[in-house]
Amino acid sequence: MIPKSGDRFSDKIMLETTTARQRISRGFGMKKILTSLALLGLVLAGNGAATTGAIAQEEAHNEAAPTHFPIHKPKEMDWSFAGPFGTYDKAQLQRGLKVYKEVCAACHSMKLVAFRTLEDLGYSEAQVKALAAEYTINDGPNDAGDMFDRPGIPSDHFPAPFPNEQAAAAANGGAAPPDMSLLAKARGVERGFPRFVFDIFTQYAQGGPDYIHSLLTGYDEQPPEGMEIPEGTHYNPYFMAGVSLKMPNPLSDDQVTYDDGSPQTVDQYSRDVSAFLMWAAEPHLEDRKKTGFRVLVFLLLFGALVYLTKRKVWAGVAH
C-alpha cells in the first residue's frame, strides 16, 4: 500500500524548490499580478459589509416612495412555542380558533386542517364532533348522482368560504385571500446579515407569527405625506409586498367575545390568531422539540463515549 512514486516525491521537491527560487526574479511581474489579485479579494470582502449598510441608508432617505418592503420590520413578540422547550398555550389556541372562525373564515380557507386535529387544542372528542357538525360539507355524489349537503364530521377538513379561487378573487377585489393552513410558515420577512447568523443560536423561528401579528396591528398607522395609496387598498407599513394591501383592517376591539376573561383587544386577538395559525401550520411542533431534546442529549452522551473510546484507541499512537 505504499505507492512507489512517493519515495522520489519529496526529494524532487527539494530540487524543485531551488529551481523555483531562481525563477522568482523572472516571475516578478507575475508576483505583482498575484498581489493585486489578493488585494482585490481583500477589498471585496471589506466591501461586502460596507455595502449592506449603504443600501439600508438609501432606503431610509425616501420615505414617500419606499423601494424595499416591509417598511417596518415585524415586531418580535414572546411566543409560548419559541425556544427548545416551547409548547403551545392551549387556551390561546382555542381563542385563536374563535377569532379564525368568527373573523378570518369569512374570506380565508384553511383546507389542510381537519376537525379531528382540533383535539390538540384541548377539546374532547365530543366537543370536536359538535364543532365539526356546525359546518355544512358538500359531499357526494349519492346513489342518484347528486351532490348533497351534510353536517361535518371530525374527519372532514375546514370547508372553504368560496367554491374556487376565481370566485374568491372575484368577491375580494381581484385578489384571492390566501389559504391559511400554512400561512405562519409561508410568511417571513428576510432577516438579513448578520441577524440570520444570530438566529441559529437563539433558535428564532417565529418570523411567520411575528409578521402576522404585526400586520394585523399595523393598520392604525398613517402613510407619510405624499405617499400614493392605490385605490381599493389599505396602507400597512408591515406588509411584505408593497405599501398597501387589498385586505382592510379585519379586527376591532370587542369584536370577538372571549369566555376566559382575556382582554378583547386587537392586539390580543392578533396574538391569539397568530399562535393558532402557527399551530395550524406546524401541528407537530411540540413533538418535534421534545424528540429533538432527547436526540441531542443522546448524541451528547454517545459522542462523549465515542470520544473516550477514541482517546483510548489512539493513546499509544502519536498523530
Binding site: 381537519a114 379531528r116 374527519s155 454517545f302 463515549l305 473510546t309 483510548k312
Partner: protein, 186 residues
C-alpha cells in the same frame, strides 16, 4: 504498549461495551420512524368508523357501505332467512365459531350470535370471502345466502361458510345501533 492498558483493563472493556451498547440503542431509535411511517396514518384511522342510515331498508333489502376500504353489507333479513339460519345444526358447520367482533372469540356460531341482541333480523357483515378476499354475491347459492364466484365457497343466510374452500365464516365487524335507524360500524 502503554501501561494504562495493563493497569485498568476493566475500565477499557467497560468503555468499549458501553459505547457499543449506545450505538445499538441509537440505531434502534433511528429505525423506529422508518417502520412507524408504514402504519395507517391519522387520516386513514379517522375514517375507521362510519355511520349508516338504514331507515329505508325493508325486509329482504340490503345496502353496502365501504368501511376501511372493504364492503360491509347491511341486510334486513326476511322471516324465512332468519328461520333457515336458526334451523342449522351447529355440528354441521365447517366453522363452529361466531367470528363476531362484538362477542368473545369462542362464541359459537348460532344465528343469534351472528347478529346483535334485539335486532336479530339485521346482518351486518364484512362481505369478503374468507378464502382469498373476493366479494361473494348476495342471495345466491344453495343455502340462499352468499356465493363466492371466484372459488365456489357457499355461505348461508347468516354468512356462515357451508361449502367450498373458505375456512371461516364471514366476519362481523364491531357495530352498534345508535338509534333504531342508524348503525355505527367501527
Amino acid at each position: 504498549m502503554s501501561a494504562t492498558d495493563i493497569q485498568d483493563p476493566n475500565r477499557r472493556d467497560f468503555l468499549y461495551v458501553a459505547t457499543g451498547m449506545a450505538a445499538v440503542v441509537g440505531a434502534g431509535a433511528v429505525a423506529w420512524p422508518f417502520i412507524d411511517q408504514m402504519r395507517p396514518d391519522a387520516s386513514t384511522l379517522a375514517l375507521a368508523s362510519v355511520e349508516v342510515d338504514v331507515s329505508s331498508l325493508e325486509p329482504g333489502m340490503s345496502l353496502v357501505v365501504k368501511w376501511r376500504g372493504k364492503p360491509v353489507v347491511v341486510r334486513n333479513r326476511t322471516e324465512k332467512e332468519m328461520k333457515d339460519g336458526e334451523a342449522v345444526n351447529l355440528a354441521q358447520l365447517k366453522d363452529p365459531l361466531a367470528r363476531n367482533a362484538n362477542l368473545p372469540a369462542d362464541a359459537p356460531a348460532t344465528d343469534a350470535n351472528r347478529t346483535t341482541p334485539g335486532k336479530e333480523a339485521w346482518m351486518v357483515m364484512v362481505q369478503v370471502c374468507t378464502h382469498l378476499g373476493c366479494i361473494p354475491l348476495g342471495q345466491e347459492g344453495e343455502f340462499g345466502g352468499w356465493f363466492c364466484p371466484c372459488h365456489g365457497s357457499v355461505y348461508d343466510t347468516a354468512g356462515r361458510v357451508r361449502a367450498g374452500p373458505a375456512p371461516e365464516n364471514m366476519s362481523v365487524p364491531v357495530f352498534q345501533f345508535i338509534s333504531d335507524t342508524k348503525i355505527r360500524i367501527g
